[in-house]
Each structure stands twice: as structure tokens, then as C-alpha cells.
């Protein structure tokens, strides 16, 4: 019931209309980019002694770019659906009439999360698959894994959603929005630093970025998803892709995925406990 309330509110506020319009613009621009890159590739001369598959390199790069854009759009959508869920709505007087009802605070918070994920997860998966199809049809290249990266990015967005809900218990809407986007940005920067650290062989940077990846598991999941786009690509092409920025993960695999799940549960439990004790 509350999930439906969240969805209807988003619908009435024309969130979906704006998102669909901007997503359509993004996909059209992405198709244009693919089209021109494909055209350029036909005239590109790779030296005989450089064993690089230019089409795979360019297509995987575009695929990585699409994955980043999809995650960014998903995060924006998730944050704006949840940034004022508790304190923001309480300050506006929207929350109190709802939580005094027998349904309870925990149910309310879980429903707010599910409502947001019911929007963001299908959105991320559909947009990512659309981007894959655009690249596939235009560049005649398909990623090594198709479904798993989309699901992983959807999970990454779900973690950001949980963080935004947790933040909404303590922070005003504006402060929470700023905090979550800064955290998201910090994760991305740490990911890029980690890639650079691995390329130049810097132990200190690698160590710092590994810690950062575990502190921001949504970024680690995104890196893991990137890696899977070209998981079977080998040779110099694979090596160049790993250099980034859309190449792959220095922290990856099941340890990261399990930690992301544990982190999500930790954030969720903290949010539920904090909301139960919060004076409104």
C-alpha cells in the first residue's frame, strides 16, 4: 500500500515523465555517439605490429560509458525519490499522519525503500540493456556478460537508495542530497584512483582505493560490472581496457558482492533502528 503510495506520488509529480524524456535523450545521444565511432573505425588504421582489436576496444569503452551513465541516472532517480523520506517529510508535516497509524515505522521505511527500488531497478536494467542493444546493432559487438552487469548496477543503486534513506533520518533533504552525491562522487574518484594505482603499480594507492571500495561497495559493484563487460577479452586489447576509466575492477568477484550484501543489510538495520528512536 505504501509502495503504491510512493509510486503514485512519483507519477503525480511527473518524476517518471521527466526521467523518461531525459533517458530517451540520453539513448538517442548514445546511438549518435556509437554511429560516429563506428564510422571513424572504418577509416582507423591500426599498425600491423600492434595486436589491438580496435572495434572491441571502442565498443567496450562505449559500453562502459553507458554503464556509468546508467548508474548515474539510476542514482539521481533513487536519491530524489528518497532524500526527504523521513526528516524532509516530517518537516513538511507529511509523515506524522502516516506513522501514527498501526502500520508502524519499520514497515513504512521498508515500503519507502521498496517503492524506490521498484522504480530504479527496472529502470537501470532496461536502460543498460537498451544501451547494450544500441552498441550491439551499431558496432556489431556484444559484451561478454549482458545480464549480470545490469543486475549488479541495479544492486549498486539499491545500496545508494538505502544510504539515502538512512541519511534522510538525520539530515534535511538538501543536506542529505548533497551528502549522498558527494559520497557517490568520492566512490567514483576512489575507483579511478585504484585503476591508476594498479597501472603504475603503486601499493599505497592500491591499498587506499581497496579500502575505499569496501567503504563504498556501490562503487565496487559498478567496477565489478564493468569488468564483466570484457571478462573474456584477452591480449593487449583486454589489457588496455583494464587501464580504464571504463575497464574493470581491481577489487572484484564474490568477496565484493558478499560484502555489498552485508553492507546493505547493515545500512538497512541501522536505518530501521535509527528511525524507531527518532523523535518526529
Amino acid at each position: 500500500m505504501i509502495v503504491g503510495y510512493v509510486l503514485r506520488e512519483a507519477l503525480r509529480r511527473r518524476v517518471f515523465a521527466v526521467v523518461l524524456l531525459l533517458t530517451a535523450v540520453f539513448l538517442v545521444l548514445f546511438w549518435v555517439a556509437n554511429h560516429y565511432v563506428h564510422g571513424e573505425l572504418r577509416t582507423l588504421q591500426v599498425p600491423q605490429d600492434v595486436p589491438v582489436d580496435a572495434r572491441t576496444f571502442a565498443s567496450a569503452f562505449l559500453g562502459g560509458l553507458a554503464l556509468f551513465a546508467t548508474m548515474f541516472l539510476g542514482v539521481v532517480l533513487a536519491v530524489f525519490l528518497t532524500l526527504g523520506a523521513v526528516r524532509g517529510d516530517a518537516e513538511r508535516g507529511l509523515l506524522q499522519p502516516l506513522v501514527v497509524r498501526p502500520v508502524g515505522r519499520s514497515t513504512f521505511l521498508v515500503a519507502r525503500f521498496l517503492g524506490a527500488v521498484a522504480v530504479t531497478a527496472p529502470y537501470v536494467i532496461v536502460v543498460d540493456l537498451a544501451a547494450v542493444v544500441i552498441t550491439g546493432l551499431t558496432m556489431h559487438w556484444w559484451p561478454d556478460r549482458i545480464a549480470t552487469p545490469a543486475v549488479e548496477v541495479a544492486c549498486a543503486v539499491a545500496i545508494v537508495t538505502a544510504l539515502a534513506l538512512l541519511g534522510s533520518i538525520f539530515l534535511s533533504s538538501t543536506a542529505n542530497g548533497i551528502a549522498i552525491f558527494m559520497l557517490f562522487g568520492a566512490g567514483l574518484v576512489a575507483g579511478l584512483l585504484g585503476t591508476i594505482g594498479h597501472v603504475i603499480g603503486s601499493t599505497a594507492i592500491r591499498h587506499a582505493s581497496t579500502v575505499a571500495a569496501y567503504l563504498t561497495p556501490f562503487e565496487a559493484l559498478y567496477q565489478d560490472a564493468l569488468r564483466q563487460l570484457t571478462s573474456s577479452t584477452t591480449g593487449l586489447t583486454g589489457f588496455l581496457l583494464q587501464l580504464g576509466p571504463f575497464g574493470g575492477a581491481y577489487v572484484h568477484g564474490w568477496p565484493v558482492r558478499l560484502w555489498a550484501a552485508a553492507f546493505f543489510v547493515l545500512v538497512g538495520v541501522t536505518a530501521l533502528l535509527a528511525f524507531r528512536r527518532r523523535d518526529l
Binding site: 500500500m1 503510495y5 503514485r8 506520488e9 503525480r12 509529480r13 513538511r92 508535516g93 507529511l94 506524522q96 499522519p97 502516516l98 506513522v99 501514527v100 497509524r101 498501526p102 502500520v103 508502524g104 528512536r277 523523535d279 518526529l280
Partner: protein, 279 residues
């Protein structure tokens, strides 16, 4: 049967600020209790603890025997916050449907029709909240609080946005609720309103109860108002003193036109209790 609301030694501190400093209060079945006090006296905090929005620092608050804030307690209350808002895109009917589902009410369309009629909003059933005046939204808030037939209604400034007609509608509604056996805790700045409808009045100041009782118990004789050819003045005394006061005035050569005993109003009692505190 346990009281609709039983508060014992209730305290709430926000850091160094004491909002409530040990309050005792009881609202029995079918009783209408008015809560008075200046801003910051702790009235809203008390109401919020009763409906589970705020956790007390010490003491107990029970709704029909269940701890305030528990599921059982929340199932028995209706609450209208001082500052509340419904989503602007919802119609009056949709707001009530949402609250019926949240409260588990099986009243259906009949309940919604009755409630909208009760607050004089029947014609606005399909109107969106954003198209309603503030007074209409306030009355919709009262209807929302009544969804599920609560045993205790907690109203925080329910008439602050209403015009005189709207206030009378709510007043009539409160009297009807009392007749149905629903208990009401009414937090209001409008002394005349409290005086007109409440069975019991509690005055808070600085988080403590400074006066409590029925309006009659709280009011005291203020003296005798004597109207003569020399003007109108107050003379000390009670009803028994009226003949003597009149005789003294006549003996002094005054022409007496009238003599009435005066009781202190709730406003007098309130001002005396809160001293110089502004509301």
C-alpha cells in the same frame, strides 16, 4: 476499564532543555480535556508522546492500558498534528482511503461519507487537497483523525486555520464525539473554545501542570459588580454580600441600578496561572 490516556510523571528533555518535567494527566472515557499553556509549555510534546511520535525521557504514557507508541496504542488513537499536510495530488476521498488502509478500518465508503459529512466536506469529496482552502484541509485533517473510530482523539490546534463557522463545526463535532463516548485531548490556544466544550482543563507552564480542574472548579468569585449613578465598580464580596453592598451604597446616597456577582473566566485563571508568559 483503563483510562483512554493515563500519563504518570512524564518527562521529556531535548538536550539541556526540559520540555516536560513530570506531568500527571488522565483522560477518561468520553471526556473532553483541554490543554492550555503558552508556546513552549510542553503541550505539543505531551500530545506527540501520547501518539508515539516522540519518546519520553522518563515516566509513562498509556493509551487504553497499552504503552504509548505501541501498535495496540496506535490502533486506538486518532491524531491531528498542529502542522500537517496531505499530498496535494490526492482527493479528500483518497486521503481517507489511504488512512482507512493504514489503520485497518473496514468502514469502507460508508465511513468516508459519514466523516466527510461530519466535517461539512461532502461536496468536496473528489476535490484535490491542493485545490482546497486551508480551512477545508484542516477539516479534512479532523476527518482523517476519526478514521477507524478511535477511542482517543488527540487534536493539536485543530481550529487554528478555521473561520468562525468552521470552528463552530468542529465544536459541534467534538460535542458529538463526546456523546459517542470518544475521549478527546484538545490542545488549543483558544480559551473560549476550551471553556465552551471541555469537561476538564489542564494548564501547562514550563513543562509542569500549574492548574487543572473543570472550568467551574477553576473559576473563582471575583467580587460584586455594582452599577450606580456614579459609575460601575467592582466591590469585594460574594453573593451573600450583595444586600449589604447595595444597602451601603444607598446609605451613601448613590442610586443603584444593578448588582451582579462575577466569576473569573478561564482567561483570568489562565493569565493568573502563567503569569507574564506570552502565548
Amino acid at each position: 476499564m483503563p483510562a483512554a490516556l493515563a500519563v504518570r510523571d512524564l518527562a521529556k528533555r531535548y538536550g539541556a532543555v526540559t520540555a516536560l518535567g513530570g506531568v500527571d494527566l488522565e483522560v477518561v472515557e468520553g471526556e473532553l480535556v483541554g490543554l492550555l499553556g503558552p508556546n513552549g509549555a510542553g503541550k505539543s510534546t505531551l500530545v506527540k508522546i501520547a501518539c508515539g511520535l516522540v519518546r519520553q525521557t522518563a515516566g509513562t504514557a498509556e493509551i487504553c492500558g497499552a504503552p504509548a507508541g505501541s501498535t495496540a496504542a496506535r490502533a486506538r488513537i486518532g491524531y491531528l498534528a498542529e502542522l500537517f499536510r496531505f499530498p496535494g495530488w490526492m482527493s479528500a476521498d483518497e486521503v481517507l482511503v489511504l488512512h482507512q488502509r493504514l489503520s485497518g478500518s473496514s468502514g469502507g465508503e460508508r465511513e468516508r461519507t459519514d466523516l466527510l459529512e461530519l466535517v461539512a466536506l461532502r461536496e468536496a469529496r473528489g476535490r484535490r487537497v491542493e485545490e482546497m482552502s486551508k480551512g477545508m484541509q484542516q477539516r479534512l485533517g479532523v476527518a482523517q483523525a476519526l478514521v477507524g473510530t478511535p477511542r482517543l482523539l488527540l487534536l493539536d490546534e485543530p481550529t487554528s486555520a478555521l473561520d468562525p463557522v468552521g470552528r463552530r463545526t468542529v465544536r459541534t463535532l467534538l460535542e458529538e464525539l463526546r456523546a459517542r463516548g470518544i475521549s478527546v485531548l484538545l490542545n488549543s490556544h483558544l480559551l473560549s473554545e476550551i471553556e465552551l466544550v471541555c469537561d476538564h482543563v489542564v494548564i501547562l507552564l514550563g513543562g509542569k501542570v500549574v492548574a487543572a480542574g473543570t472550568p467551574d472548579e477553576l473559576s473563582r468569585p471575583r467580587g460584586i459588580e455594582l452599577e450606580t449613578d456614579r459609575g460601575t465598580r467592582m466591590v469585594e464580596g460574594t453573593r451573600e454580600d450583595v444586600p449589604r453592598v447595595v444597602a451601603d451604597a444607598v446609605a451613601a446616597g448613590e442610586l443603584v441600578y444593578g448588582a451582579r456577582t462575577r466569576q473569573s473566566t478561564l482567561e483570568d485563571v489562565y493569565l493568573e496561572a502563567v503569569g507574564g508568559e506570552t502565548s
